[in-house]
């Protein structure tokens, strides 16, 4: 029980401190931190529509967060989420446009293609790591840019639509259906991806904690030499972990491009979801349930950020700053700890003076 409390305390206090520093920044800009955070909260959770928007924004984050967390469990650092996201989006979009089938076949097929696309982008650095021992960080970064250029080429070349906006729209049978009908919450776009994301949270959690394969994967992450000695192949698990991690990010791209955007735009850039996935995974303590919670938080920041900019006149880019600060506080437990220590020392000193 105490262990769980400590595990939750770090992310919570990190988030708290990040917002505290954020408040100082807002104050220094001559705006009201109170109004800004109130608008941020209202924009994220204020109405059913906003809540639906928050859930929608959290879908890609859940997938990229799971991706980073799963790779991390195998001792791998996946910063290739951006590229895997794009390639997954491209594969699923191609399936969505060119395959004709009823929904019940077409939609799962799109998901499979999206997963496969991301898995390809993950498999390459995974294979290079397993076969040649090359650090996956460099290769995943390089692949981000290669994927960006490749997808940009396909979107503006072979898959270009006559409208010039990017790819054509996918067929109706490929678009993730809405969960809540428009008549209940007007204008909401929350699609079935949210439910599938929750299923994947549970699946990844089950896989990591209840299956032999998941155990092997974690064993390689914890102590590769001991795992190998125990008969677990290091290279096989590294390759597998990167494929799965890539596939998860690819699914994020699938829902983003098929659902949110409805096409891959011609002016292609990184969405930021891959990098935010790192933040989400760290804040979530590399635990699938934690990833889910952190994704909701970050999703709410994104949907609330626009509202904050309009309402409190604070640029929504503050959200990015806060996310970066959260990462900083999480990776440096010493930073949070030293604030606590300083506070305690101050308290003790004060107590001493009184007595």
């Amino acid at each position: 029980m105490k262990k769980i409390a400590r595990e939750i305390l770090l992310p919570i206090s990190s988030i708290f401190f990040a917002f505290l520093v954020g408040a100082v920044i807002i104050k220094a800009s001559g705006r009201s931190p109170f109004l800004a955070y109130q608008s941020l909260l209202m924009g994220g959770f204020g109405s059913l529509g906003n809540l639906a928007q928050t859930c929608l924004f959290s879908i890609p984050l859940i997938f990229t967060g799971l991706s980073v967390a799963l790779a991390y469990k195998c001792g791998l650092f996946n910063i290739g989420g951006e590229g895997q996201f794009l390639l997954g989006g491209l594969f699923s979009m191609a399936a969505g446009i060119y395959i004709h089938a009823p929904f019940i076949i077409h939609f799962p097929l799109c998901l499979l293609c999206g997963f496969a696309g991301g898995a390809v982008a993950g498999a390459i650095p995974g294979w290079l790591k397993a076969r040649y021992g090359i650090h996956e960080v460099i290769n995943t970064i390089m692949l981000n840019w290669i994927c960006l250029n490749f997808v940009a080429y396909i979107v503006n070349g072979p898959m270009k639509s006559p409208s010039g906006l990017g790819t054509p729209e996918p067929l109706k049978t490929a678009i993730p259906p809405l969960i809540i009908p428009d008549s209940v919450i007007p204008g909401n776009q929350l699609n079935i991806g949210f439910i599938i994301a929750i299923v994947f949270v549970l699946l990844v959690g089950f896989y990591l904690s209840r299956t032999v394969q998941g155990y092997n994967l974690k064993a390689v992450g914890l102590n590769p030499m001991a795992a190998e000695y125990g008969g677990i192949s290091i290279s096989k698990n590294i390759f597998l972990a990167m494929c799965l991690a890539g596939g998860l990010s690819g699914l994020g791209g699938t829902f983003y491009y098929l659902g949110d955007l409805g096409r891959i735009p011609s002016t292609l850039s990184f969405t930021g979801y891959g990098f935010e996935g790192i933040a989400v995974a760290l804040v979530g303590g590399l635990n699938p349930i934690g990833v889910f919670g952190a994704s909701l938080l970050f999703g709410s920041l994104e949907s609330g950020g626009i509202f904050m900019q309009l309402n409190a006149n604070v640029p929504k880019d503050l959200v990015t700053i806060i996310q970066a600060l959260v990462i900083i506080f999480v990776i440096v437990p010493g930073l949070v700890q030293s604030v606590f220590n300083w506070y305690r020392a101050k308290k003790e000193k004060e107590g001493f003076e009184y007595s």
Binding site: Y132, I141, A324, L325, I331
Partner: protein, 295 residues
């Protein structure tokens, strides 16, 4: 179009596009030689570009802009140094955080200071040739510094085997702090070049991956200053090709620009596999130094 002007344009474009890569890559070499991986080059360039624009805008003097840009990059690097050296945080995650922080704060300040989400107003600039020549000279200076001076030897020792260096009386933390801050200053100058030399203003996300190309150049140049210079030039050439090549290719043959854009990254992966000779990073690159740990 005659051949001479094509060659001249091509050379000029190569140098123009190489310069920011070389500056940031030299920074990367110094930092990684001392044992600190710097994924945050991109962010340090971005914040440097913004700082330079602000400095040049308010002082009407681009040289002040250069100073502010370099200082801004150094400041971002200081955060990276504190996190990864003092607090022994994961250097890669810290770098990712620096990149996000730079992206967020440059856009935040852009809206706050210039009331725009896109382009800042035009500011006074510095001629690009000054930067290009400086980058060349600097590469050889850093080479001399790293391989022919006691301080350079210390830096390399700290990057290879910090414990041994510590035992020999070298202050590992101090050296690493200096190197990381120097890398931020260099990346900041690279960013300064982008905003007040190549362009005359700051635009949203102006670095657009240049810092990551610089990271590739560090590896492609096998963690040496002259190698980074060569890699920077080579990558700049790959970019310049896409402006020149369409006029030279036979009619109907087209190579998509995206191919040239991915070339630096593709080549770096190829180099890492060892096709063009093995690329080996400094032995303790990326590992925080803990004096209490016995290794």
């Amino acid at each position: 179009m005659n051949t001479l002007s094509v060659v001249r344009d091509f050379t000029a474009t190569t140098f123009r596009l190489s310069t920011p890569i070389i500056f940031a890559a030299l920074g990367g070499v110094i930092s990684e030689r001392s044992g600190v991986v710097n994924i945050g080059l991109e962010g340090m360039m971005l914040i440097g570009a913004f700082g330079a624009t602000v400095g040049s805008y308010y002082s009407h003097n681009p040289w002040i802009g250069l100073l502010v840009g370099a200082a801004a990059g150094g400041l971002a690097a200081l955060i990276h140094a504190i996190l990864s050296i003092h607090f022994k945080a994961d250097q890669i995650v810290s770098g990712v955080a620096i990149n996000m922080l730079a992206l967020g704060s440059s856009n935040y300040l852009l809206l706050l200071l210039f009331k725009t989400a896109g382009n800042s107003p035009a500011v006074p600039t510095i001629h690009w040739k000054i930067f290009a020549i400086a980058a060349f000279i600097l590469a050889f200076l850093i080479h001399y510094f790293l391989y022919h001076t006691p301080a350079g030897l210390r830096i390399r020792a700290v990057g290879e085997h910090p414990k041994a260096a510590d035992t020999a009386g070298i202050n590992v933390f101090f050296i690493r702090y200096c190197c990381v801050i120097a890398s931020g200053i260099l990346a900041g100058i690279g960013g300064t070049y982008l905003s007040i030399s190549l362009l005359n203003r700051f635009t949203r996300d102006i670095s657009a991956g240049t810092g990551f190309i610089a990271l590739a150049a560090v590896i492609f140049g096998k963690w040496t200053p002259v190698g980074a210079l060569g890699a920077g030039l080579f990558f700049g050439m790959a970019y310049a090709l896409q402006f020149v090549l369409p006029g030279l290719l036979p009619h109907g043959v087209k190579i998509p620009p995206e191919f040239f854009n991915s070339l630096p990254y593709l080549l770096t992966m190829v180099v890492l596999v060892g096709v063009v000779g093995k690329a080996v990073p400094p032995a303790s690159d990326g590992i925080p130094y803990d004096p209490k740990e016995s290794r």
